[in-house]
């Protein structure tokens, strides 16, 4: 029963690649945004917060369609990127990574923001009195103390990215070997006669990946508390 076929492997590896790239690219933006939301007060902050959370509540099809309009070959941003930088998203695995990254972003940012909010700002003041410029304070105090939260956010984002379906299939379709991730492969398989066994295997793979990610996120969260208490 558990003989994973080459076609299934292709989908699994593609999912992993898409999710890893999506997570890695989203992380610096996520950290920056988490810091801004945790530390700055400015006009329009709640609006920014709402926009970040939008992919979580919007129908994924809508997000996918908006991505298509913006980043498609004829889209405003997509056209520019394709013409000047040679980066094409539509019907490519890069587009799948973009869709997954956007969908995972709210989940990725949240633990990062919470962990930055939990940091005692008086420690940062202490660092400043010891001669650390603000950017050094960030890299030697803020970020290391927030690191478990950052990793937890990455894990959650990764788990979301690897399971993303609606926005991906809307934006880049379901092309085996290029944009067919585990989710879209399952979708295709359960619509094919005799596809049940293969679909079942991929379902088990997704469950294992998801549970693994949750356990990892939990572990990082526990590390965070230890770190903040200096044990």
């Amino acid at each position: 029963m558990f003989d994973i076929s080459p076609a299934e492997w292709t989908a699994i590896l593609l999912s992993l690649r898409v999710a890893v790239i999506a997570t890695l690219v989203a992380t610096p933006f996520g950290i920056a945004l988490a810091w801004v939301l945790a530390r700055r007060d400015f006009w329009g902050k709640s609006f920014l917060d709402a926009v970040v959370h939008l992919p979580l509540v919007l129908p994924p099809v809508v997000t996918g369609y908006l991505l298509l309009l913006t980043f498609g070959r004829k889209g405003l941003v997509g056209g520019f990127l394709a013409d000047y930088l040679g980066i094409v998203f539509s019907f490519r695995w890069t587009g799948a990574a973009l869709a997954c990254g956007v969908m995972a972003f709210p989940l990725l940012v949240r633990p990062m923001r919470l962990s930055i909010e939990a940091i005692d700002r008086r420690l940062e003041q202490a660092a400043e009195t010891l001669g650390a410029a603000p950017w050094k304070v960030f890299f030697t105090v803020t970020l290391p103390l927030a690191l478990p939260g950052v990793l937890a956010g990455m894990v959650l984002g990764f788990a979301k990215a690897i399971g993303e379906f609606g926005a991906t299939i809307t934006f880049v379709s379901n092309i085996p070997g290029e944009t067919q991730t585990i989710s879209s492969a399952i979708y295709s398989l359960i619509q094919t006669p005799d596809g049940d066994a293969a679909a079942g295997r991929l379902v088990i793979v997704s469950i294992v990946l998801a549970i693994g990610a949750l356990i990892a996120a939990e572990w990082f969260a526990r590390r965070a508390t230890q770190r903040l208490h200096g044990n």
Binding site: D120, R122, L123, Q125, A126, A127, E128, T129, L130, G131, A132, A133, P134, K136, T140, V141, P144, L145, R227, L228, H229, G230, N231
Partner: protein, 220 residues
């Protein structure tokens, strides 16, 4: 050494202080709420005065009229807080080394050893701050501030969070520091006895105003 002439409005509370001192240890005395911490935070650059000037070691670090406000990290001060504020993710040794690294100073093993001996913290170097007692934490915080080679050391009720026994444990280190470390200090306390032992000059603050200034005898 230190010249302060500032005004600051903090909500309902107004702080207005002016004094100049060449003393080795300036004791800032007053009840809680008298404005001592705000004043020290202004000397550290963590608060910005509304009006007036602060001069440390001949350098004007604040001059509201001229728009000068040197940021904290460029003031070359050391600050020992009541609650130590050691970095929990770093070992004691890394905490001690932090200021030197941030200021890009060359390692100075002789001074390093001298301060570690002075404060008796050689046995704690590999530990994490979470595993230290309150008194140990405060000694490490003192060492950390001193090793950044400050030109002025600010101590804001460094014994405030400790019980009587611990206070008596730290006090001798502070006396040694005053006599051997050769760094001028501003020592904030509401405890007259503490200041009599340590300070060479006293500034008395009451409700945001300097009410007396002079030798230790003003504490009577």
């Amino acid at each position: 050494m230190l010249r302060v002439d500032i005004e600051k409005q903090l909500g309902e509370f107004s702080l207005s202080a002016s004094f100049a001192s060449e003393g080795r240890v300036i004791g800032l005395f007053g009840a809680s709420g008298a404005g001592k911490s705000s004043l020290v935070n202004m000397i550290a650059g963590l608060l910005r005065p509304d009006r007036g000037t602060i001069v440390i070691d001949g350098e004007t670090v604040d001059d509201a009229a001229a728009g000068i406000h040197v940021p904290t990290y460029r003031r070359r001060i050391g600050y020992v807080f009541q609650d130590a504020r050691l970095f929990p993710h770093l070992s004691v040794a890394q905490n001690l080394d932090y200021g030197r690294r941030m200021n890009g100073l060359a390692p100075d093993p002789a001074q390093h050893r001298r301060i570690i001996d002075l404060l008796d913290i050689g046995g704690l170097l590999d530990r994490r701050p979470g595993k230290l007692s309150g008194g140990e934490r405060q000694r490490v915080a003192l060492g950390r501030a001193l090793l950044s080679k400050p030109r002025l050391l600010l101590l804001d009720e460094p014994l405030g969070a400790l019980d009587e026994g611990r206070k008596l444990e730290i006090l001798p280190y502070l006396v040694r520091l005053r006599d051997e470390a050769n760094v001028p200090m501003v020592y904030v306390s509401h405890d007259a006895a503490e200041l009599r032992q340590l300070a060479t000059q006293i500034v008395v603050l009451k409700q945001g105003r300097v009410t007396s200034f002079g030798g230790v005898k003003v504490l009577t």
